[in-house]
C-alpha cells in the first residue's frame, strides 16, 4: 500500500434532517485512481465536495496528505492548495481569456509573476492539447475544449490530488472521448485521482479501486475486475446492469 493521499473515516453529513452521507470510509493511496459511481442522489458528488470543503461534513475525519480538514481557515487553505477540482459545468470564468483563467490562481494565490504563470499556463495547455486557444474566451470554445481548459486550470496549481465531479456529464457525446483521453494521460503520469463518473470504459481502464454508492453509503468497493465481474450486492448488480445495458 503506497502512502495515503486521502483518508475519510466515519464521515457523516446531513442537510437539515436528510442524512446525505452515512459513515463513509475511504482511503486513497498516493498515485491511486478511485472511481465513484452510483445513482443520482446517492451522495457521490457530496463525498468529493467534502474533500476540499465545498461542503462541510458534520462528523468523522477527513485527511489529505496528513492534514486534517477542520473549520480552521488555515487547514482549509492548506488542503485546497493540494487538491484540484474539475466540475461538471466546467465553471470557467467567462469574462477572462483562457490564459487569464489559467494564470489567475498561480498569480493571486501563489504570487507567481505574470511571465512565470503564463509559461506554466502554456505548458499545461499543451498537455491538454489546446495550445492555440490561449487568447480566446471560454464562450468561444466547444464543451470538450472548455473542460480541458478547466483541467489545465487545476493543473496550473500543481495539486497532489485531482477530484473530478462528473467531468463528462455535460458534454455532447462526440466530445467525451477528448476529455477522457486527457484524464487517462494524467492517470498514466501517476496523478492521484478521485473521479465521479458513469463512464465505465474509463473506469475499467484506469481505476485501481471502484466505489459504488447508494443512498448515502458505500455499498460496495473493490478492484475493477471483481467489481464488474462479480458485484456482490443486489443494488450494485442492478445499477451496473442498467448503465451497461446499451
Amino acid at each position: 500500500m503506497p502512502e495515503t493521499a486521502i483518508e475519510l473515516v466515519g464521515v457523516n453529513k446531513w442537510y437539515g434532517t436528510f442524512h446525505v452521507l452515512k459513515d463513509i470510509d475511504l482511503i486513497v493511496g498516493a498515485g491511486q485512481k478511485v472511481v465513484i459511481c452510483g445513482p443520482s442522489g446517492s451522495g457521490k458528488s457530496t463525498v468529493v465536495r467534502c474533500i476540499n470543503r465545498l461542503e462541510e461534513h458534520q462528523k468523522g475525519t477527513i485527511r489529505v496528505d496528513g492534514i486534517e480538514l477542520t473549520n480552521d481557515p488555515k487547514s482549509v487553505a492548506a488542503i485546497r492548495s493540494e487538491v484540484g477540482m474539475v466540475f461538471q459545468q466546467f465553471n470557467l470564468f467567462p469574462h477572462l481569456t483562457v490564459l487569464e483563467n489559467l494564470t489567475l490562481g498561480p498569480m493571486k494565490a501563489r504570487g507567481y509573476s505574470k511571465t512565470e504563470a503564463e509559461d506554466r499556463a502554456r505548458h499545461y495547455l499543451e498537455r491538454v492539447h489546446i495550445p492555440d486557444q490561449a487568447l480566446k474566451r471560454p464562450g468561444q470554445l466547444s464543451g470538450g475544449q472548455q473542460q480541458r481548459v478547466a483541467i489545465a486550470r487545476s493543473l496550473c496549481m500543481e495539486p497532489k490530488v485531482l477530484l473530478f465531479d462528473e467531468p463528462t456529464s455535460a458534454l455532447d457525446p462526440e466530445m467525451i472521448s477528448e476529455v477522457l483521453d486527457v484524464m487517462v494521460e494524467l492517470a498514466d503520469e501517476g496523478m492521484t485521482m478521485v473521479v465521479v463518473t458513469h463512464e465505465m470504459g474509463f473506469a475499467r481502464k484506469v481505476a485501481d479501486n471502484m466505489v459504488f454508492m447508494d443512498a448515502g453509503e458505500i455499498v460496495e468497493h473493490g478492484p475493477p475486475e471483481e467489481f464488474f465481474g462479480a458485484p456482490r450486492s443486489e443494488r450494485c448488480q442492478k445499477f451496473l446492469s442498467q448503465i451497461l445495458q446499451h
Binding site: R53, Q89, N91, H95, G105, A109, R110
Partner: protein, 253 residues
C-alpha cells in the same frame, strides 16, 4: 384631434417670444443682454449639480458594496446588519434626511465633543450618498446572487480567498450585469440633488428659484430648468450606453 395638439404645441410655446401674455420668453432670450445674463445665471448652477451628484454617486457605489457584502453571508447576524441598514435608510424620505443631516448632525457631533460644521455642499452629498446607498446595496446583492455558485467554488479550488474571489471573479461579472440599474440610480441622484436647493446650495434649482423671485417669470424659468436636467440626463444616458458597449453589458450571455 391628437395631430392638432401635437402641431399646435410648438406654436403655443414659441408664440410667447413675441407678444402673448401667457409666455414671456424675453426673460431668458439670449439675444438680449438681460436675457443672456439670466441664462448664464441659470446655467451657472450646473457645475455644482454635477459635482454633488458625481461625488454622491461615487460614495454610494462604494458604500453600497460594503453594505451588500454582509447581506450575502451564510450567518444570519451578519445578514441582519445589511437588512437593518437597507430597511432603515430606504424608509427615510430624502427631504427630512437632508434636514436631519444639515441641521441635526452638527449637534450630534458637538455632543460627542467634535466640532464638525456641515456646509450645504457636504450636507447634500452625505444625504444623497447615504440615501442612495441602500438602493445600490440591493442592486449589488441581486447582481452578485445572479452569478452561478460554481464561479466562486471554482475560485476557491484554485486557492483564491474571499476578497480575491470577489475582486477578480464575481464583481467583474456582476458589475457588467448591474450597470443599467446603477446608471438608473445615478440619474436618480442627479434629479434628487435638486433638494439641495432648500439648504442653500447654489445648484440648478436654487438658481432658478432665485431668478423667479426677481423676474416673476416661473413658467419660462422652470421650463428652462427642466430642459437643463433633461440635457444632463441625456448626456449621462449616452455615456452609460458607451460604457455598456465597452463592458459588454448590452450582450446577452
Amino acid at each position: 384631434m391628437k395631430k392638432l395638439i401635437v402641431f399646435s404645441l410648438p406654436f403655443l410655446l414659441l408664440s410667447g417670444c413675441s407678444s402673448s401674455s401667457t409666455w414671456g420668453w424675453y426673460v431668458i432670450d439670449p439675444r438680449t443682454a438681460s436675457g443672456w445674463t439670466n441664462v448664464k445665471f441659470l446655467i451657472s448652477g450646473m457645475g455644482d449639480t454635477i459635482l454633488i451628484s458625481v461625488i454622491a454617486a461615487v460614495i454610494s457605489i462604494i458604500l453600497g458594496l460594503l453594505v451588500a457584502l454582509p447581506g450575502l453571508s451564510n450567518r444570519w447576524p451578519i445578514r441582519l446588519i445589511n437588512r437593518v441598514y437597507v430597511e432603515f435608510i430606504r424608509s427615510i424620505p430624502l427631504l427630512p434626511m437632508l434636514f436631519w443631516v444639515f441641521y441635526g448632525l452638527p449637534i450630534v457631533f458637538q455632543s460627542m465633543g467634535m466640532n464638525i460644521p456641515i456646509d450645504p455642499f457636504w450636507g447634500a452629498i452625505i444625504t444623497l450618498a447615504i440615501s442612495d446607498s441602500a438602493f445600490t446595496a440591493e442592486i449589488y446583492r441581486a447582481g452578485i446572487q445572479s452569478i452561478p455558485k460554481g464561479q466562486s467554488e471554482a475560485a476557491q479550488t484554485i486557492g483564491l480567498n474571499y476578497a480575491q474571489t470577489m475582486r477578480y471573479v464575481i464583481l467583474p461579472q456582476a458589475i457588467r450585469r448591474i450597470l443599467p440599474p446603477l446608471a438608473n440610480q445615478f440619474i436618480y441622484i442627479v434629479k434628487m440633488s435638486a433638494f439641495a436647493s432648500v439648504i442653500g446650495m447654489q445648484e440648478l434649482t436654487r438658481r432658478a428659484n432665485e431668478l423667479v423671485v426677481t423676474e416673476y417669470r416661473p413658467l419660462e424659468i422652470y421650463t428652462l430648468l427642466i430642459l437643463e436636467y433633461l440635457v444632463l440626463v441625456l448626456i449621462i444616458s449616452a455615456g452609460v450606453r458607451w460604457l455598456e458597449r465597452r463592458m459588454g453589458s448590452d450582450e446577452r450571455s
